[in-house]
Amino acid sequence: MKHARWTALTLVLSSTLGLAQLASAQSSLDLWHLQTTEAGKAVIQKAVDRFQTANPGVKVNVSPTPNDTYKTKLKIAFGANAAPCVFASWGGGPLYEYVKSSQVVNLSPFLQKDQAFYTRFQPASWSAVTFDKQIYGIPGENTGIAVVIYNKALFAKYKLTPPRTWPELLKVVATLKGNNVAAFSLANKAKWPGSMYYGYLVDRLGGPDTFRNAVLRKGGGSFADPVFVKAGTLLQDLVRAGAFVQGYNGLDYDSGVSRQLLYSGKAAMELMGTWELATISSENPTFAKDMGFFAFPTVPGGKGNAGNVLGTVGDNFYSVAKSCKTPELAFKLLKAITDTQAEQDRLADRRLPPVKGLKVTDPLLSQVSAFVAKAPSVQLWYDQDLAPQLGELHKDTSQALLGLSITPQAAADQMEALAKKLAAGK
């Protein structure tokens, strides 16, 4: 009897040990991303399933997290040395923080070996993830550039045409205001939507180099440049002309309230990333029929080309953490979630992956595609391009400019003071 019990115990023990061995032979990868719509999640999950079938014994743990929570979660994970193998980001300043602290795998050697994969993507899509000539991420999700989305029906009603220049825009604002319609819908609680106006004004006034040189502290570039002050002045002119909906600095973009203002006809335009076109189409198909978009107007005497865009070709980018024990496998996973099938799935979800030779049939998407293809310059969102501290200050000052609670000169001076301090600290 006693003997039998021991045998049983040994059997149980050995079988659990066996299972444990099996589990350790199987490797697992964590993948963190921020596609939280059903369709967006499905694209990645399907790609992961294909990857798991092709690599038996590898388990991928996928965790999608909403936008603002994601930023915090990622930061804590890295700080606690518990980073996921593969993670999404916007590139730019925040990713550079991770790169500087040598937390991210340099993907250039992988891409050099895999030219076919590398050359599939549009050249412009690599800029946000290239630091010191090395590439730290794969573009894959979408082309998100800021355009002025407008209500064609409302424009027709008041006999308006899309403004091409700043004075034309002010006339449109006046006409709409005269008819009790706000020109722009804006939900600026999180501060990044309002930052787009400032970014575009800087580009239209001074061209893309003004910001670039100020960021890189070269060629005499400075945030105290008169262009930045002038951009703030024009932005405040727009506010004083009554161009924005009531309460714009307190409205929450994530709750969809800026779109509701468009749908209800209380506002006629919104400066927003092109992802909004897909959101509107699925949220309000009736309104989507009257929806169009145009480029941010030029400013008379300004150096910026009307075709220059603000935004990102590639939004989001996928990177591999240095702590990942199987970087080769992680790179394979990167390839899987941006493979041809995944790109087709994204296209079906009305997104525009930054790959060459994409056959786009959707009229709005092909318009966006043509827009980007012709763009002489693509500037990453200021808040994502700048180093995090400076990005925070930029968001604060642009919200303050929109709230008329700071002078354009003071906003520019504050930015320059911090930029100088950070540059000196390095």
């Binding site: 930023k71 915090t72 930061k75 890295f78 700080g79 925040p94 923080e97 991770y98 500087k100 602290s101 040598s102 937390q103 600026n188 609680k189 999180a190 501060k191 909906v245 009531q246 309460g247 714009y248 600095n249 307190g250 409205l251 929450d252 709750s255 309230v257 509701q260 203002l261 209800s264 209380k266 995090p388 501290q389 990005g391 925070e392 604060d396 919200q399 303050a400 709230g403 609670s405 700071i406 600290g425």
Partner: protein, 310 residues
Amino acid sequence: MSLTAKPVAAAPSQARRARRPRQDWIAVAFLAPAVLILAVFLIYPLIANFRLSFVDWNGLGNTARNVGWNNWLELSRDAVFVRALGNNALLAVLSILIQLPLGLLLAVALGRASRGSAFLRIVYVVPLLMSSVAIGTVFRNLYDPNFGAINVGLRALHLDALAQDWLGDPRFALLSVIAVICWQSIPFYMLLFMAGLSSMPAELSEAATLDGASPRVVFWRITLPFLQGTIRSAAVLSLIGALRYFDLVYVMTGGGPTNASELMATYMYRTVFSGFNIGYGAAISSAMFLIVVVVAGLALRLTRRYQTEV
């Protein structure tokens, strides 16, 4: 406050003295887990946080750089921090002036036993049961300047002039959030005062009433003095709560617009998690800790003196 601080009035008997070391042992054994938890989750992080306030660090890898008192010097000159501190102070004052009296009023009103009050008690406790994020989202919608019930209602009553940009206007943002904070917290103080009232012997007020005291006199002369200790605790709790407040402000305004509703805690959160500026964030939270400790200590001392004078 230590275990042996209180002098024993009567001389302990021999038997007691003999048992004493063992009792100490038992006390230590019972206290150990709590002390251990406190040390690991409270005292150690506190010290670690103070140490972090002397570095410049983005929170990633071994890149921390010692900067001495720089973060603290900067903090003393930081206009945003000063503004946040002022906002915390305003929140504290308004919390005590609004939450405590209203909580007491409700407690006294509902304490008078009548059948309807049981139902009302449940109704008034509802805000306490909801998560702050849910409350913040609901009120953000109510406050919406274009579609929100508050402005729509005001306009329907032809009070268009009163329809404001509640959360987007720097003049109103903080006050709008404070109103919600009060709505959420009053039930807590109500419960606290109801508990206090329930320990009041009924004979006290009955005797006074028999002697011809009006309800008002009973309230001012008997109920209020009886609740003194509860009120003191409530005030200190409210004060400390206001100084380290975070959630509703974060959900409703994010500290904006233009820092108008910034609190020390929201500023710290932004500095650390959006600004990747761990050292400075640690300085903010350490300063917050010091401020709370000093203010709470002063409040306790002042109210204690008041109590002994009465």
